[in-house]
Symmetry: C2
Subunit: 396 residues, 2 copies
């Protein structure tokens, strides 16, 4: 049932331990579900309760600690020996008197790690401030340090098999985006368009099925295109609306995001012009991709194009992406923005999403790409343009 070879998991673990040693960390408590999956294979929608993977520098295998009800999932999805899967009893779940981190502290104490230098993912969604306080209280002699993105940085360069998974996700998002362009029509309810898109993202292709993307489809319409993270309503699309579509295909938790914009009815000349600027800037950034370039250089290539047209934009235009769980498919490591000096290496993967938002509309046209040995491989094959859907008369 493991999606990757045991050899690949062990390599990931070795790289993690190397990074731990560099930072003087003896025990790493991994709570980010993408990092748990990356190191052990663990894959289950159980991150709404406390769970962790404990990596110890001088132990061959990590230890999984989670809810008793999920121990079978750990046995089914990980490469760990069953004795390394340690469940806490059910009465720790959403309890006001017990906390799973008390249980974890007891385990760490039993295995002689109560005085160790322990790294914590302080910025993980699924490691609460309460867990943190609980660990500090129950392990008073441990020395804690922040190891928030330690595993995320190990993940930043993908293996060839990970790239294959991301390419499958790219095939899926091409299908989903075509469905979006077909479905978003005057008189169609937003929820009905999303239902079609979401269905197709999960259906995948006839060779491989889709997984749930870490973010739901984003389809802000009309004035809401200036509010990029608002989700859908049950209103009907009307003529002369702009609709932004930001979705991802997902295969075995690996993502390929993609954004396009649809104009319902003839767009204004300004919107057409802006869409061309976005594409010109996107292309310029993609052309700047090569091993050795920095993330910042891609943003500069984009900025040069838009500033030539008198436009200034201060948010980042992309981020490293791949394996993930809700609420984000971004990896929180490299960002394509001014000041990010991350050096591009082959098999890094990014979502380059240079949107331009104005007071009452916005345009996003994005690509996901892989850094190759010599330049850039765009992962999806989908026309890079503003789509115009005339009333009851589809034009792609």
């Amino acid at each position: 049932m493991l999606p990757f070879s045991l050899k690949e998991y062990k390599k990931r673990l070795d790289q993690t331990k190397k990074s731990m040693l560099e930072r003087g960390i003896e025990v790493l408590i991994v709570t980010n579900p993408a990092n748990m999956n990356y190191l052990s294979g663990y894959n289950s929608w159980s991150f709404y309760v406390d769970q962790m993977l404990i990596v110890i520098v001088d132990e061959d295998q990590p230890i999984w600690i989670g809810r008793k009800m999920d121990a079978n999932a750990a046995k089914a999805t990980t490469w760990l020996y069953h004795e390394n899967i340690i469940p806490y009893p059910e009465d720790y779940v959403h309890s006001k008197i017990k906390h799973p981190s008390e249980f974890a502290a007891q385990i760490l104490t039993q295995i002689g790690q109560s005085k160790s230098r322990i790294g914590l993912e302080m910025d993980s969604y699924y490691f609460s401030a309460q867990s943190y306080e609980c660990l500090k209280k129950n392990l008073p002699n441990a020395i804690f340090s922040d190891a928030s993105l330690l595993v995320n940085y190990v993940r930043i360069v993908k293996s060839d098999q990970e790239i294959e998974f991301i390419k499958r996700a790219a095939k899926i998002v091409e299908i989903g985006m075509q469905t979006a362009v077909n479905s978003i029509q005057e008189g169609v309810r937003e929820c009905d368009a999303v239902a079609n898109i979401y269905g197709d993202l999960i259906r995948g292709t006839s060779e491989f099925g889709g997984d749930y993307p870490a973010i739901v489809p984003m389809l802000p319409a009309g004035e809401n295109t200036s509010t990029p993270h608002i989700t859908w309503t049950d209103k009907k699309y009307t003529n002369n609306q702009m609709v932004i579509i930001e979705i991802a295909g997902c295969y075995q938790r690996y993502h390929s995001p993609l954004a396009r914009t649809v104009s319902l009815g003839k767009p204004s000349q300004e919107a057409l012009d802006v869409s061309k600027i976005v594409v010109e800037g996107l292309n310029a950034a993609l052309e700047a991709v090569k091993p050795g370039a920095t993330c910042e250089e891609l943003e500069i290539a984009w900025s040069k194009v838009i500033s030539k047209h008198g436009i200034v934009k201060d948010s980042r235009i992309g981020y490293s992406m791949g394996l993930n769980y809700p609420p984000d498919w971004g990896e929180h490591t490299a960002s394509i923005r001014r000041g990010d000096l991350t050096v591009l290496q082959p098999n890094m993967t990014f979502h380059l999403i240079p949107g331009l938002w104005f007071d009452n509309y916005g345009i996003e046209i994005s690509e996901s790409f892989r850094v190759t040995e010599t330049g850039c491989e765009v992962l999806t094959n989908f026309p890079r343009q503003l789509f115009v859907n005339e009333s009851h008369n589809l034009q792609v």
Copy 2:
């Protein structure tokens, strides 16, 4: 665009302030997106970056702090004056050198709250240990306390309009469950069944569209029915598999969860017997629902039935639910389990999900219900039984 009246939001805020006063809290930092929505209306998939609502006991309106890119969403979805919507600059997002909580601390200092008694949601998914450390460092004279479930407990009794929303979600889940029972057939890929179900949950009814449920459809099949939180694969269903379906309808972020089990092919006598025990136990628990009863009493009613049949189960069998965001539709307040002495009140809403899992299969048959003035109202109308789908010959 507000789904509830201004009067309802103000009532919620007043109840929150009352609870703050009882606990000696002057300033409450709300980071749980369901609580942010409940108090302000704020609704956007932006919780993957730091954001908060600050409730101050002697101020009429809360303050929204979030990413600059999301300030338009706050203007579009909340009842707050625009001057109470305070965005932090984009370079705080996923930065290694700046943290949004530094920005929030500066705002709190500017408005004279740097020495206040501040309540924090220490157990919120979207309030990180890093945010906590950052607030403590930047507000050294503030007195922090844990206010994790303060707003959740205000939410536990629903208004009539909230009940109406939950009932709409119940209509949606009935459609989704019928699609599930129809779609799960020998030879169908799991992902294709989920695509149908998910599509219908989002499509909703012709009168009202569906929203994204806080948890993706859970459909563990075969041996995986003993691993309740594993998600789907692209394998085909085979004859003689059991498939558990746990889904929720969602309307404007309000949920109605429902679980059923399908047997592909003739079930074993044991599985049939177990399904009847689950229904008998479920019915006994529902009959115990009335204002004044405790959550524990429902679990005892269930346990009496199953122990009569020689079965012991140690996990909880339900939880308070309603408004929520990923990763959980549960409210983390009352649980239907031994030791939970929460007293039932009219308009509390629960998901009662008494599953029985064995080594190689499991059965779940659940209901969502509302406590009425005199007893219990089951929210969905769907046959309470094990469904049997014979090969290519649907039997409901």
